[in-house]
Symmetry: C2
Subunit: 335 residues, 2 copies
């Protein structure tokens, strides 16, 4: 399939074998469901680490169509698991910025050392596999210019951003040195059903959604004017599917990003209006958050639009409504 031929990327998955690391997590489980719906043979690998995003309920209704394998990716199990797969969607990660500062070694283990384990397993057992890696806009740090394109310097503000750079660069070096087909997508804030909302250490979106659904008061740090771009999870899944099906994406990195930046204050106003409950107030920045805050961020997505034909299709209002509806219905499974 060529880039010009991206219309057929969904058909590409019929009968393909795809392994998803972090397959019980937020984005991973949404991807597993989409892959199964497209007729792929899906293997979800997850370590179900406590306090992380893995949740068996995320694959509810898909138990017969997605094989679940609980395993740590560091270990020889991966050499067995990657065999005979056509694709590996590599979504397992530690995503908390504050946790990466309070426990930098765990962040290193998961975002850095584990990636080497996965790549070595692929190199030894199945070097023909295609890999799509979930990177993050956190690697850019505080933007020097907006919107941020892929050539922006990498100057992360926390340990998580550093280790995610390693994870991405390992994938690129295994492409250039060993010819393994790897693509890295630099995700911005992603939201939607099946995200962790139990605690506030994995980004603001899950936490805001939780508080709105519970009718609580959201605390916005500073003046709430920080700009962010957001992607509904279905759009991120669509980008992953496009990257996996496209040889033109091999060895490449692509930003994802929302249609338009929104301030956190405006975001919270929309959320409470859509939900008809919840409220907000402005509070001073906590010191441990302020030190690693990145200010305004939104991504330039020209490259992915051109190469993969991707564009976000779910509006913020629609995505928020679907998310709030999901957690209102299933909140007992996520609290």
């Amino acid at each position: 399939m060529t880039t010009a031929d991206m219309d057929g990327y969904r058909d590409f998955y019929r009968g393909r074998r795809a392994l998803v690391t972090g397959g019980l997590g937020f984005i991973g489980s949404n991807l597993c469901r989409a892959l199964a719906d497209l007729g792929a043979q899906v293997l979800a690998v997850d370590s179900l680490l406590p306090d992380y995003g893995g949740n068996l309920f995320n694959l509810a209704g898909y138990e017969d169509r997605v094989r679940i394998n609980i395993a740590d990716v560091r270990g020889h199990a991966m050499e067995y698991l990657v065999r005979d797969q056509d694709l590996l969607f590599n979504l397992a990660g530690q995503v908390s910025h504050v946790d990466s500062m309070s426990d930098p070694f765990t962040d290193l283990e998961i975002n850095c050392r584990s990636q080497l384990w996965i790549l070595e397993a692929v190199r030894k057992a199945n070097p023909g596999l295609k890999i799509v890696y979930a990177s993050t806009r956190q690697i850019y740090g505080r933007p020097l210019r907006l919107p941020v394109d892929e050539t922006h310097p990498l100057q992360p503000v926390d340990v998580n951003g550093i280790n995610k750079i390693s994870g991405e660069l390992y994938h690129l070096v295994y492409h250039s040195v060993y010819g393994i087909r790897t693509t890295s997508l630099r995700l911005t804030n992603t939201y939607g059903p099946r995200q962790l909302i139990r605690h506030d250490r994995q980004g603001f979106m899950g936490w805001f959604i939780r508080q709105v659904v519970l009718g609580e008061t959201i605390e916005l740090f500073g003046d709430g004017q920080q700009l962010r771009d957001l992607d509904f999870v279905d759009d991120v899944v669509d980008a992953l599917l496009r990257a996996g099906a496209s040889p033109a994406a091999d060895g490449q990195v692509f930003n994802l990003g929302g249609d338009a930046p929104v301030s956190l204050l405006e975001l919270v106003r929309q959320m409470t209006a859509i939900a008809g409950r919840g409220s907000y107030r402005l509070v001073p920045f906590p010191e441990n958050r302020k030190r690693i805050d990145i200010g305004d961020f939104y991504a330039d997505t020209h490259k992915v639009r051109t190469a993969l034909g991707w564009t976000p299709t779910v509006s913020l209002a629609d995505g928020l409504a679907r998310t709030i509806e999901y957690y209102t219905q299933h909140k007992d499974r996520y609290l």
Copy 2:
């Protein structure tokens, strides 16, 4: 001391306590000797890992003036060792590019995880310490433009380059988040007395020197026209001393680099002419080297010249003569 006041940087070290990781290695031992000569109280910490650069003979004659502590930097010993120190010159590292591909986990342990151990030890036990970290031009990968300045994208071609990025970025984040005074120097090819010459996996300079001293035939890969810049080790030590003494260097990265680039062919011609022995021949690039070769490289050193007043002072001819003389006299200690 201010930047304008860099003339006094050598006096700065009298009576100061300085810890040097990798203190028995090539650059570390030369630095320890210089620090001792300047009246500093020097503590050399080295793990003496087999096949690495540590060599007790490197501190011959300085046994009474440099305290030697054999230890792995990963472990609680570091929390004890950094106490009461004024400076930490962080030179411990795995420098082999080919080894980083054949054994990526060891490279990760030493260049990435060990750096977190060191920084966490400093944060907990002595956050007022000044740290100078030895980074490398390897983090740039194949240059997109020449000379390479500090804003050049980081796109390393091997695992070593990736893990050295992590090491440098950890130092910068521990500066921005915790206020620890850190400076990173991105070294180019360094040569001189006390470098490992036992095997060919730690860069070409030690290997070429060995073969010239032994009167052997150097194998140059490809056409020998690859450009490199080189620094004699005394010049690198001078840059480390300037960075350690300068508050203006805190939180900064600086390239080091030679006066003028030289082709490997021209370099080898000079070496054999100065030594009066040895020869060379051109051979095809071995596959495992070609895949991670960076082509031409030389650094833009404008920033370090301006900020720290540093400039290389030892000519290539003089540096090569001193190096060849050293190994001719002491080769039994290094073979």
